[in-house]
Protein backbone atom coordinates (compact mmCIF):
# COMPACT_ATOMS: atom_id res chain seq x y z
CA UNK A 1 0.00 0.00 0.00
CA UNK A 2 1.24 3.47 -0.76
CA UNK A 3 1.00 5.62 2.32
CA UNK A 4 1.15 9.29 1.40
CA UNK A 5 1.48 10.42 5.00
CA UNK A 6 4.79 12.08 5.72
CA UNK A 7 6.81 10.48 8.57
CA UNK A 8 6.67 13.78 10.37
CA UNK A 9 2.88 13.66 10.51
CA UNK A 10 2.91 9.97 11.25
CA UNK A 11 5.02 10.69 14.32
CA UNK A 12 2.73 13.58 15.25
CA UNK A 13 -0.25 11.25 14.96
CA UNK A 14 1.40 8.87 17.41
CA UNK A 15 2.20 11.70 19.80
CA UNK A 16 -1.38 12.97 19.56
CA UNK A 17 -2.70 9.57 20.53
CA UNK A 18 -0.04 8.58 23.01
CA UNK A 19 -0.99 7.82 26.60
CA UNK A 20 0.87 6.51 29.61
CA UNK A 21 -0.49 3.68 31.75
CA UNK A 22 -0.47 5.69 34.94
CA UNK A 23 -1.37 4.37 38.39
CA UNK A 24 -4.29 6.82 38.40
CA UNK A 25 -5.72 5.30 35.24
CA UNK A 26 -5.35 1.80 36.68
CA UNK A 27 -7.11 2.94 39.85
CA UNK A 28 -10.07 4.15 37.80
CA UNK A 29 -10.18 0.84 35.94
CA UNK A 30 -10.15 -1.30 39.06
CA UNK A 31 -12.81 0.88 40.66
CA UNK A 32 -15.06 0.55 37.66
CA UNK A 33 -14.48 -3.19 37.58
CA UNK A 34 -15.37 -3.46 41.25
CA UNK A 35 -18.59 -1.52 40.94
CA UNK A 36 -20.77 -4.31 39.60
CA UNK A 37 -23.17 -4.58 42.50
CA UNK A 38 -26.32 -3.34 40.82
CA UNK A 39 -29.01 -2.02 43.08
CA UNK A 40 -27.02 -2.57 46.21
CA UNK A 41 -27.72 -0.76 49.41
CA UNK A 42 -25.63 2.38 49.36
CA UNK A 43 -24.93 1.97 53.02
CA UNK A 44 -23.40 -1.40 52.32
CA UNK A 45 -20.97 0.00 49.80
CA UNK A 46 -17.48 -0.04 51.24
CA UNK A 47 -15.87 3.39 51.11
CA UNK A 48 -12.73 2.09 49.48
CA UNK A 49 -9.77 4.34 48.98
CA UNK A 50 -10.32 4.47 45.27
CA UNK A 51 -14.07 4.62 45.19
CA UNK A 52 -14.12 8.37 45.02
CA UNK A 53 -12.09 8.20 41.88
CA UNK A 54 -15.01 6.57 40.16
CA UNK A 55 -17.43 9.14 41.46
CA UNK A 56 -15.05 11.77 40.27
CA UNK A 57 -14.92 10.28 36.84
CA UNK A 58 -18.68 10.10 36.64
CA UNK A 59 -19.05 13.66 37.77
CA UNK A 60 -16.52 14.92 35.30
CA UNK A 61 -18.29 13.03 32.61
CA UNK A 62 -21.50 14.92 33.09
CA UNK A 63 -19.79 18.21 33.63
CA UNK A 64 -18.00 18.02 30.37
CA UNK A 65 -21.17 17.10 28.63
CA UNK A 66 -20.45 13.44 28.17
CA UNK A 67 -23.11 12.23 30.51
CA UNK A 68 -23.81 9.11 28.59
CA UNK A 69 -22.06 6.08 27.42
CA UNK A 70 -23.47 4.33 24.46
CA UNK A 71 -22.09 1.59 22.36
CA UNK A 72 -22.94 -0.03 19.16
CA UNK A 73 -22.05 -3.62 18.84
CA UNK A 74 -20.99 -3.41 15.27
CA UNK A 75 -22.67 -6.72 14.69
CA UNK A 76 -24.43 -5.38 11.67
CA UNK A 77 -21.30 -4.19 9.96
CA UNK A 78 -21.01 -6.98 7.49
CA UNK A 79 -23.87 -7.47 5.10
CA UNK A 80 -25.57 -10.71 5.90
CA UNK A 81 -27.33 -12.79 3.33
CA UNK A 82 -31.00 -13.22 3.97
CA UNK A 83 -31.51 -16.39 5.94
CA UNK A 84 -34.08 -19.05 5.22
CA UNK A 85 -36.63 -17.32 7.40
CA UNK A 86 -36.47 -14.26 5.22
CA UNK A 87 -36.76 -16.26 2.05
CA UNK A 88 -39.72 -18.41 2.83
CA UNK A 89 -42.37 -16.51 4.68
CA UNK A 90 -43.62 -13.54 2.82
CA UNK A 91 -47.11 -13.92 4.24
CA UNK A 92 -46.19 -13.43 7.87
CA UNK A 93 -48.73 -11.08 9.35
CA UNK A 94 -48.09 -11.26 13.05
CA UNK A 95 -46.72 -8.06 14.44
CA UNK A 96 -44.78 -9.82 17.14
CA UNK A 97 -43.04 -13.08 16.46
CA UNK A 98 -41.29 -15.57 18.69
CA UNK A 99 -39.54 -13.99 21.65
CA UNK A 100 -41.20 -10.71 20.85
CA UNK A 101 -39.25 -10.17 17.66
CA UNK A 102 -41.21 -7.84 15.40
CA UNK A 103 -41.70 -10.17 12.43
CA UNK A 104 -43.08 -7.31 10.38
CA UNK A 105 -40.90 -4.38 11.11
CA UNK A 106 -40.69 -0.72 10.25
CA UNK A 107 -37.71 1.54 10.52
CA UNK A 108 -37.15 5.19 9.84
CA UNK A 109 -33.79 6.40 8.73
CA UNK A 110 -31.11 6.73 6.11
CA UNK A 111 -30.52 4.00 3.59
CA UNK A 112 -27.06 4.00 2.07
CA UNK A 113 -25.38 1.87 -0.54
CA UNK A 114 -21.77 2.44 -1.55
CA UNK A 115 -18.66 0.70 -2.75
CA UNK A 116 -18.21 -1.04 0.58
CA UNK A 117 -21.63 -2.56 0.98
CA UNK A 118 -25.12 -2.99 -0.39
CA UNK A 119 -28.16 -1.09 0.84
CA UNK A 120 -28.13 -0.78 4.59
CA UNK A 121 -30.16 1.11 7.12
CA UNK A 122 -27.73 3.41 8.84
CA UNK A 123 -27.25 2.45 12.43
CA UNK A 124 -23.87 3.91 12.97
CA UNK A 125 -23.45 7.44 11.76
CA UNK A 126 -20.15 7.78 10.06
CA UNK A 127 -19.93 11.47 9.45
CA UNK A 128 -19.85 13.97 12.24
CA UNK A 129 -17.37 16.36 10.82
CA UNK A 130 -17.29 18.76 7.97
CA UNK A 131 -15.75 16.27 5.59
CA UNK A 132 -16.61 16.70 1.96
CA UNK A 133 -18.16 13.83 0.09
CA UNK A 134 -20.95 11.31 0.43
CA UNK A 135 -21.97 10.02 3.85
CA UNK A 136 -20.68 6.76 5.23
CA UNK A 137 -22.50 4.51 7.66
CA UNK A 138 -23.26 0.88 8.39
CA UNK A 139 -26.34 -0.82 9.73
CA UNK A 140 -28.96 -3.45 9.00
CA UNK A 141 -28.62 -4.99 5.53
CA UNK A 142 -31.72 -4.62 3.36
CA UNK A 143 -32.76 -7.48 1.10
CA UNK A 144 -34.90 -6.82 -1.99
CA UNK A 145 -34.20 -3.13 -1.81
CA UNK A 146 -34.68 -1.44 -5.19
CA UNK A 147 -33.63 2.15 -5.74
CA UNK A 148 -36.17 2.25 -8.56
CA UNK A 149 -38.87 2.34 -5.86
CA UNK A 150 -37.70 5.73 -4.62
CA UNK A 151 -37.21 8.99 -6.39
CA UNK A 152 -35.64 11.29 -3.84
CA UNK A 153 -32.29 9.60 -3.48
CA UNK A 154 -28.91 11.23 -3.71
CA UNK A 155 -25.98 9.96 -5.72
CA UNK A 156 -22.33 10.86 -5.30
CA UNK A 157 -19.85 8.63 -7.03
CA UNK A 158 -20.52 5.07 -5.95
CA UNK A 159 -22.64 6.15 -2.99
CA UNK A 160 -26.42 6.36 -3.12
CA UNK A 161 -28.57 7.29 -0.17
CA UNK A 162 -31.81 8.80 1.08
CA UNK A 163 -34.11 9.08 4.09
CA UNK A 164 -36.98 6.61 4.15
CA UNK A 165 -39.62 4.72 6.06
CA UNK A 166 -38.87 1.06 5.43
CA UNK A 167 -41.26 -1.83 6.06
CA UNK A 168 -40.22 -5.44 5.81
CA UNK A 169 -39.65 -8.82 7.38
CA UNK A 170 -36.95 -8.79 10.03
CA UNK A 171 -35.17 -12.09 10.63
CA UNK A 172 -32.87 -10.94 13.35
CA UNK A 173 -30.11 -9.86 10.99
CA UNK A 174 -31.60 -8.42 7.83
CA UNK A 175 -34.79 -6.74 6.73
CA UNK A 176 -36.41 -8.04 3.58
CA UNK A 177 -38.29 -5.10 2.15
CA UNK A 178 -41.95 -5.90 1.48
CA UNK A 179 -43.39 -2.49 0.65
CA UNK A 180 -42.21 0.42 -1.46
CA UNK A 181 -40.24 2.72 0.81
CA UNK A 182 -41.94 5.95 1.78
CA UNK A 183 -40.81 9.29 3.12
CA UNK A 184 -39.59 9.19 6.71
CA UNK A 185 -42.85 10.49 8.15
CA UNK A 186 -44.39 9.23 11.36
CA UNK A 187 -41.08 8.53 13.01
CA UNK A 188 -41.63 7.81 16.72
CA UNK A 189 -40.65 10.74 18.85
CA UNK A 190 -37.25 10.52 20.45
CA UNK A 191 -37.14 10.45 24.22
CA UNK A 192 -37.74 13.94 25.48
CA UNK A 193 -34.73 16.00 26.28
CA UNK A 194 -35.36 17.61 29.65
CA UNK A 195 -33.58 20.70 28.35
CA UNK A 196 -31.65 23.21 30.40
CA UNK A 197 -34.26 23.04 33.14
CA UNK A 198 -32.62 19.82 34.26
CA UNK A 199 -29.73 21.82 35.64
CA UNK A 200 -31.86 23.89 37.95
CA UNK A 201 -30.78 23.31 41.53
CA UNK A 202 -33.24 20.94 43.19
CA UNK A 203 -33.14 22.95 46.43
CA UNK A 204 -35.74 25.66 47.10
CA UNK A 205 -34.43 29.12 46.35
CA UNK A 206 -33.29 30.81 49.57
CA UNK A 207 -35.21 33.89 50.81
CA UNK A 208 -33.88 36.82 48.82
CA UNK A 209 -32.60 34.57 46.07
CA UNK A 210 -29.38 32.73 45.38
CA UNK A 211 -26.38 34.68 46.60
CA UNK A 212 -22.69 34.42 47.23
CA UNK A 213 -22.02 33.96 50.93
CA UNK A 214 -18.30 34.69 50.95
CA UNK A 215 -16.83 36.32 47.81
CA UNK A 216 -13.34 35.46 49.04
CA UNK A 217 -14.14 31.78 48.57
CA UNK A 218 -16.20 31.88 45.39
CA UNK A 219 -13.55 31.82 42.71
CA UNK A 220 -12.51 29.17 40.22
CA UNK A 221 -10.01 27.68 42.65
CA UNK A 222 -12.71 27.42 45.26
CA UNK A 223 -14.98 25.65 42.80
CA UNK A 224 -12.23 23.18 42.19
CA UNK A 225 -11.84 22.74 45.93
CA UNK A 226 -15.57 22.07 46.20
CA UNK A 227 -15.40 19.43 43.50
CA UNK A 228 -12.36 17.85 45.09
CA UNK A 229 -14.06 17.68 48.47
CA UNK A 230 -17.21 16.23 46.97
CA UNK A 231 -15.36 13.59 45.03
CA UNK A 232 -13.79 12.25 48.20
CA UNK A 233 -17.22 11.18 49.40
CA UNK A 234 -18.21 7.62 48.47
CA UNK A 235 -21.89 8.50 48.49
CA UNK A 236 -21.51 11.29 45.95
CA UNK A 237 -24.23 11.47 43.35
CA UNK A 238 -23.13 14.29 41.12
CA UNK A 239 -21.70 17.80 41.00
CA UNK A 240 -23.02 20.30 38.53
CA UNK A 241 -23.49 24.01 38.11
CA UNK A 242 -26.32 26.14 36.82
CA UNK A 243 -24.76 29.26 35.40
CA UNK A 244 -28.02 30.61 34.08
CA UNK A 245 -28.83 31.95 37.53
CA UNK A 246 -27.39 35.44 37.89
CA UNK A 247 -25.07 34.86 40.79
CA UNK A 248 -21.29 34.94 40.60
CA UNK A 249 -19.95 31.47 39.96
CA UNK A 250 -23.42 30.04 39.35
CA UNK A 251 -25.25 27.75 41.73
CA UNK A 252 -23.30 24.61 42.53
CA UNK A 253 -25.42 21.55 43.18
CA UNK A 254 -23.93 18.53 44.88
CA UNK A 255 -26.01 15.41 45.49
CA UNK A 256 -25.38 12.60 47.95
CA UNK A 257 -27.29 9.56 49.09
CA UNK A 258 -27.63 10.88 52.65
CA UNK A 259 -25.99 12.69 55.59
CA UNK A 260 -26.74 15.99 53.93
CA UNK A 261 -26.07 18.25 56.88
CA UNK A 262 -22.54 16.94 57.29
CA UNK A 263 -21.89 17.24 53.58
CA UNK A 264 -23.33 20.75 53.46
CA UNK A 265 -21.16 21.87 56.35
CA UNK A 266 -18.03 20.39 54.85
CA UNK A 267 -18.66 21.85 51.42
CA UNK A 268 -19.61 25.27 52.76
CA UNK A 269 -16.21 25.38 54.43
CA UNK A 270 -14.47 25.39 51.08
CA UNK A 271 -17.06 27.03 48.78
CA UNK A 272 -18.43 30.46 49.53
CA UNK A 273 -20.68 30.66 46.47
CA UNK A 274 -24.30 29.63 46.09
CA UNK A 275 -24.64 25.98 47.07
CA UNK A 276 -27.40 23.41 46.91
CA UNK A 277 -26.85 20.06 48.62
CA UNK A 278 -29.55 17.56 47.78
CA UNK A 279 -30.33 13.89 48.27
CA UNK A 280 -30.53 11.27 45.56
CA UNK A 281 -31.43 7.61 45.93
CA UNK A 282 -28.26 6.24 44.39
CA UNK A 283 -24.58 7.05 44.16
CA UNK A 284 -22.83 7.70 40.88
CA UNK A 285 -21.04 4.40 41.27
CA UNK A 286 -24.30 2.51 41.47
CA UNK A 287 -25.66 4.18 38.37
CA UNK A 288 -22.50 3.43 36.53
CA UNK A 289 -22.62 -0.21 37.62
CA UNK A 290 -26.13 -0.50 36.19
CA UNK A 291 -24.93 1.09 32.99
CA UNK A 292 -22.09 -1.41 32.84
CA UNK A 293 -24.52 -4.30 32.91
CA UNK A 294 -25.94 -3.06 29.62
CA UNK A 295 -22.52 -2.26 28.22
CA UNK A 296 -21.25 -5.73 28.96
CA UNK A 297 -24.05 -7.31 26.99
CA UNK A 298 -23.72 -4.83 24.14
CA UNK A 299 -19.96 -5.30 23.91
CA UNK A 300 -20.31 -9.06 23.91
CA UNK A 301 -22.98 -8.95 21.20
CA UNK A 302 -25.28 -10.92 23.47
CA UNK A 303 -28.87 -10.10 24.44
CA UNK A 304 -29.47 -8.81 27.93
CA UNK A 305 -31.69 -11.18 29.87
CA UNK A 306 -34.24 -9.37 31.99
CA UNK A 307 -36.97 -11.45 33.55
CA UNK A 308 -38.23 -13.75 30.85
CA UNK A 309 -37.05 -11.46 28.07
CA UNK A 310 -33.95 -11.40 25.94
CA UNK A 311 -33.34 -7.85 24.83
CA UNK A 312 -30.84 -7.17 22.01
CA UNK A 313 -29.25 -4.11 23.55
CA UNK A 314 -26.81 -2.07 21.52
CA UNK A 315 -25.95 0.76 23.86
CA UNK A 316 -26.92 2.85 26.82
CA UNK A 317 -27.01 6.50 27.75
CA UNK A 318 -26.72 7.45 31.37
CA UNK A 319 -28.78 10.38 32.62
CA UNK A 320 -26.72 11.35 35.63
CA UNK A 321 -28.97 14.05 36.97
CA UNK A 322 -32.21 12.10 36.62
CA UNK A 323 -30.44 8.85 37.62
CA UNK A 324 -32.07 6.93 34.83
CA UNK A 325 -30.90 5.00 31.79
CA UNK A 326 -31.81 5.24 28.13
CA UNK A 327 -31.12 1.81 26.64
CA UNK A 328 -30.68 1.41 22.90
CA UNK A 329 -31.81 -1.88 21.43
CA UNK A 330 -32.22 -3.31 17.98
CA UNK A 331 -35.78 -4.03 18.91
CA UNK A 332 -37.69 -4.22 22.16
CA UNK A 333 -40.06 -7.02 23.14
CA UNK A 334 -43.18 -5.92 24.99
CA UNK A 335 -42.43 -5.27 28.64
CA UNK A 336 -38.76 -4.55 27.99
CA UNK A 337 -38.71 -1.29 29.90
CA UNK A 338 -40.35 -2.77 32.97
CA UNK A 339 -38.07 -5.81 32.92
CA UNK A 340 -34.93 -3.69 32.54
CA UNK A 341 -36.05 -1.31 35.26
CA UNK A 342 -36.51 -4.29 37.56
CA UNK A 343 -33.17 -5.78 36.60
CA UNK A 344 -31.07 -2.64 36.79
CA UNK A 345 -32.74 -0.89 39.68
CA UNK A 346 -33.04 2.41 37.81
CA UNK A 347 -35.82 3.82 35.63
CA UNK A 348 -35.18 2.64 32.07
CA UNK A 349 -36.45 3.96 28.78
CA UNK A 350 -35.83 1.76 25.76
CA UNK A 351 -35.15 3.29 22.38
CA UNK A 352 -35.59 0.53 19.78
CA UNK A 353 -34.20 0.79 16.31
CA UNK A 354 -36.83 -1.48 14.78
CA UNK A 355 -40.52 -1.10 15.54
CA UNK A 356 -43.28 -3.62 14.96
CA UNK A 357 -45.87 -2.67 12.37
CA UNK A 358 -49.01 -1.60 14.14
Amino acid sequence: MTDPLDPRWRDALRRHADAEPTPEAWAVITDRAADDDVGSDPAATPPGRRRWVLATAAAIVVLVGLAALAVTTGSGDEPVDAGPAADEDETTTTTVGPDGLPAEAQVWGRVLEDADHGPELCRETGDLSAHVGPPTCRGIPLVDWDWADVDDDHVDGEARWGEYHVVGIYDGETIRVTEPPGPPDGRPAAPLDPGPERYRPPCPEPPGGWAVIDPERAGIDDREALQFAARKQPDLGLVWVDESIPVAGGVMTVTFTGDLERHRTELAAVWGGALCVAEVPHSAAELRAAEDVVLQAANADTPLHAGDLSIPVTGVMREDIEQSLLVYATWAPPGAEEALTELLGFPVTVSPEIHPVD
Partner: protein, 193 residues
Protein backbone atom coordinates in the same frame (compact mmCIF):
# COMPACT_ATOMS: atom_id res chain seq x y z
CA UNK B 1 -6.43 -27.80 38.02
CA UNK B 2 -5.71 -30.72 40.20
CA UNK B 3 -6.29 -30.41 43.91
CA UNK B 4 -7.81 -33.77 44.48
CA UNK B 5 -6.42 -36.21 46.98
CA UNK B 6 -4.02 -39.04 46.41
CA UNK B 7 -0.39 -39.17 45.54
CA UNK B 8 -0.60 -36.45 42.97
CA UNK B 9 -2.29 -33.92 45.23
CA UNK B 10 0.86 -32.27 46.47
CA UNK B 11 2.18 -31.93 43.01
CA UNK B 12 -1.11 -30.50 41.88
CA UNK B 13 -1.32 -28.02 44.70
CA UNK B 14 2.23 -26.93 44.32
CA UNK B 15 1.94 -26.46 40.62
CA UNK B 16 -1.61 -25.22 40.32
CA UNK B 17 -1.91 -22.95 43.28
CA UNK B 18 -2.57 -20.11 40.87
CA UNK B 19 -5.93 -18.52 41.47
CA UNK B 20 -7.58 -18.05 38.05
CA UNK B 21 -9.10 -14.75 39.12
CA UNK B 22 -5.75 -13.49 40.33
CA UNK B 23 -4.11 -14.72 37.16
CA UNK B 24 -6.73 -12.90 35.13
CA UNK B 25 -6.13 -9.71 37.04
CA UNK B 26 -2.39 -10.08 36.50
CA UNK B 27 -3.04 -10.59 32.81
CA UNK B 28 -5.22 -7.48 32.58
CA UNK B 29 -2.70 -5.43 34.54
CA UNK B 30 0.04 -6.63 32.26
CA UNK B 31 -2.03 -5.70 29.23
CA UNK B 32 -2.71 -2.33 30.82
CA UNK B 33 1.03 -1.69 30.92
CA UNK B 34 1.63 -2.80 27.37
CA UNK B 35 -1.56 -1.83 25.54
CA UNK B 36 -3.20 1.05 27.40
CA UNK B 37 -1.44 3.64 25.28
CA UNK B 38 -2.44 2.14 21.97
CA UNK B 39 -6.03 1.64 23.07
CA UNK B 40 -6.32 5.23 24.23
CA UNK B 41 -4.85 6.20 20.90
CA UNK B 42 -7.33 4.09 19.00
CA UNK B 43 -10.28 5.57 20.88
CA UNK B 44 -8.88 9.08 20.70
CA UNK B 45 -8.45 8.96 16.95
CA UNK B 46 -11.87 7.42 16.39
CA UNK B 47 -13.76 9.78 18.69
CA UNK B 48 -11.59 12.82 18.10
CA UNK B 49 -11.49 13.52 21.81
CA UNK B 50 -8.61 12.64 24.10
CA UNK B 51 -10.69 12.64 27.31
CA UNK B 52 -13.29 10.39 25.76
CA UNK B 53 -10.50 8.21 24.42
CA UNK B 54 -9.08 7.65 27.88
CA UNK B 55 -12.53 7.01 29.30
CA UNK B 56 -13.34 4.48 26.60
CA UNK B 57 -10.05 2.64 27.09
CA UNK B 58 -10.54 2.54 30.85
CA UNK B 59 -14.03 1.16 30.38
CA UNK B 60 -12.66 -1.55 28.13
CA UNK B 61 -10.10 -2.65 30.71
CA UNK B 62 -12.69 -2.50 33.49
CA UNK B 63 -15.01 -4.64 31.39
CA UNK B 64 -12.32 -7.23 30.83
CA UNK B 65 -11.44 -7.28 34.53
CA UNK B 66 -15.07 -7.72 35.48
CA UNK B 67 -15.69 -10.35 32.86
CA UNK B 68 -13.23 -12.77 34.43
CA UNK B 69 -10.82 -15.18 32.80
CA UNK B 70 -11.17 -15.70 29.09
CA UNK B 71 -11.21 -19.19 27.66
CA UNK B 72 -8.30 -18.08 25.52
CA UNK B 73 -6.14 -15.51 27.31
CA UNK B 74 -4.43 -14.74 24.02
CA UNK B 75 -7.73 -13.30 22.87
CA UNK B 76 -7.65 -10.61 25.54
CA UNK B 77 -6.02 -7.98 23.35
CA UNK B 78 -8.61 -8.60 20.67
CA UNK B 79 -11.37 -8.33 23.24
CA UNK B 80 -10.02 -4.99 24.42
CA UNK B 81 -9.66 -3.60 20.93
CA UNK B 82 -13.15 -4.72 20.01
CA UNK B 83 -14.58 -3.16 23.15
CA UNK B 84 -12.79 0.09 22.42
CA UNK B 85 -14.08 0.23 18.86
CA UNK B 86 -17.63 -0.53 19.96
CA UNK B 87 -17.64 2.02 22.71
CA UNK B 88 -15.96 4.67 20.63
CA UNK B 89 -18.56 4.19 17.93
CA UNK B 90 -21.24 4.41 20.55
CA UNK B 91 -19.93 7.69 21.88
CA UNK B 92 -19.91 9.08 18.37
CA UNK B 93 -23.36 7.76 17.64
CA UNK B 94 -24.71 9.27 20.77
CA UNK B 95 -23.17 12.62 19.95
CA UNK B 96 -24.68 12.42 16.51
CA UNK B 97 -28.21 11.59 17.56
CA UNK B 98 -28.41 13.66 20.70
CA UNK B 99 -26.15 16.63 20.41
CA UNK B 100 -27.59 18.63 23.23
CA UNK B 101 -26.53 22.03 24.42
CA UNK B 102 -25.23 21.88 27.93
CA UNK B 103 -24.57 24.66 30.36
CA UNK B 104 -20.99 25.60 30.91
CA UNK B 105 -19.36 23.26 33.35
CA UNK B 106 -17.44 24.62 36.28
CA UNK B 107 -13.82 24.64 37.15
CA UNK B 108 -11.27 22.60 35.33
CA UNK B 109 -13.90 20.61 33.51
CA UNK B 110 -15.05 23.79 31.82
CA UNK B 111 -11.68 24.73 30.52
CA UNK B 112 -10.46 23.54 27.15
CA UNK B 113 -8.55 20.35 27.52
CA UNK B 114 -4.90 21.21 27.44
CA UNK B 115 -3.50 17.80 26.68
CA UNK B 116 0.20 17.54 26.88
CA UNK B 117 0.03 15.74 23.57
CA UNK B 118 -1.78 18.64 21.98
CA UNK B 119 0.74 21.13 23.25
CA UNK B 120 2.82 19.84 20.38
CA UNK B 121 1.92 21.94 17.32
CA UNK B 122 2.25 19.06 14.91
CA UNK B 123 0.14 16.82 17.09
CA UNK B 124 -2.48 19.54 17.32
CA UNK B 125 -2.45 19.95 13.57
CA UNK B 126 -2.92 16.22 13.11
CA UNK B 127 -5.78 16.19 15.60
CA UNK B 128 -7.49 19.05 13.76
CA UNK B 129 -7.03 17.34 10.41
CA UNK B 130 -8.29 14.01 11.73
CA UNK B 131 -11.47 15.72 12.85
CA UNK B 132 -12.23 16.47 9.22
CA UNK B 133 -12.09 12.83 8.15
CA UNK B 134 -15.04 10.46 8.10
CA UNK B 135 -15.15 8.18 11.10
CA UNK B 136 -14.50 5.06 9.05
CA UNK B 137 -11.30 6.54 7.70
CA UNK B 138 -10.22 7.48 11.21
CA UNK B 139 -10.92 3.95 12.39
CA UNK B 140 -8.87 2.41 9.63
CA UNK B 141 -5.98 4.83 10.09
CA UNK B 142 -5.96 4.17 13.81
CA UNK B 143 -6.05 0.41 13.33
CA UNK B 144 -3.33 0.29 10.70
CA UNK B 145 -1.10 3.19 11.65
CA UNK B 146 -1.36 3.22 15.44
CA UNK B 147 -1.94 -0.47 16.13
CA UNK B 148 0.12 -1.63 13.19
CA UNK B 149 -2.52 -4.11 12.06
CA UNK B 150 -2.58 -5.55 8.58
CA UNK B 151 -5.57 -4.75 6.41
CA UNK B 152 -6.97 -8.19 7.13
CA UNK B 153 -6.53 -7.82 10.89
CA UNK B 154 -8.02 -4.34 10.82
CA UNK B 155 -10.94 -5.62 8.77
CA UNK B 156 -11.67 -8.26 11.38
CA UNK B 157 -11.50 -5.71 14.17
CA UNK B 158 -13.67 -3.14 12.44
CA UNK B 159 -16.14 -5.50 10.84
CA UNK B 160 -15.51 -4.41 7.27
CA UNK B 161 -13.77 -5.97 4.30
CA UNK B 162 -10.01 -5.84 3.91
CA UNK B 163 -10.55 -4.02 0.65
CA UNK B 164 -12.55 -1.37 2.43
CA UNK B 165 -9.79 -0.95 5.01
CA UNK B 166 -7.24 -0.48 2.27
CA UNK B 167 -9.43 2.07 0.54
CA UNK B 168 -10.18 3.99 3.72
CA UNK B 169 -6.56 4.06 4.85
CA UNK B 170 -5.45 5.26 1.46
CA UNK B 171 -8.11 7.92 1.12
CA UNK B 172 -7.76 8.98 4.72
CA UNK B 173 -4.02 9.37 4.73
CA UNK B 174 -4.13 11.13 1.37
CA UNK B 175 -6.71 13.54 2.73
CA UNK B 176 -4.70 14.01 5.90
CA UNK B 177 -1.60 14.77 3.89
CA UNK B 178 -3.50 17.34 1.85
CA UNK B 179 -5.00 19.00 4.90
CA UNK B 180 -1.69 19.12 6.70
CA UNK B 181 0.18 20.39 3.68
CA UNK B 182 -2.34 23.21 3.36
CA UNK B 183 -1.73 24.40 6.89
CA UNK B 184 1.91 23.62 7.26
CA UNK B 185 4.33 26.53 6.82
CA UNK B 186 7.26 24.15 6.69
CA UNK B 187 8.10 21.86 3.80
CA UNK B 188 7.17 18.26 4.30
CA UNK B 189 8.48 15.13 2.77
CA UNK B 190 11.63 14.56 4.70
CA UNK B 191 12.16 12.25 7.58
CA UNK B 192 12.37 14.46 10.67
CA UNK B 193 15.27 12.43 11.94
Amino acid sequence: MSTDGGAGAWVGVMMDVVDPEAAHRDLVESLFQTSYGELVGLATVVTGDRQVGEDVAQDAFAGLLRRGPLADPDAAVGYLRRAVVNQARGRIRRRAVADRPRPSPPGPAAAPVEDAALADDDARAVADALALLPVRQRECIAACTLLGLTHTEAARLLGVSAGAVKTHVHRGTRRLATLLADRDPRPTGGDPS
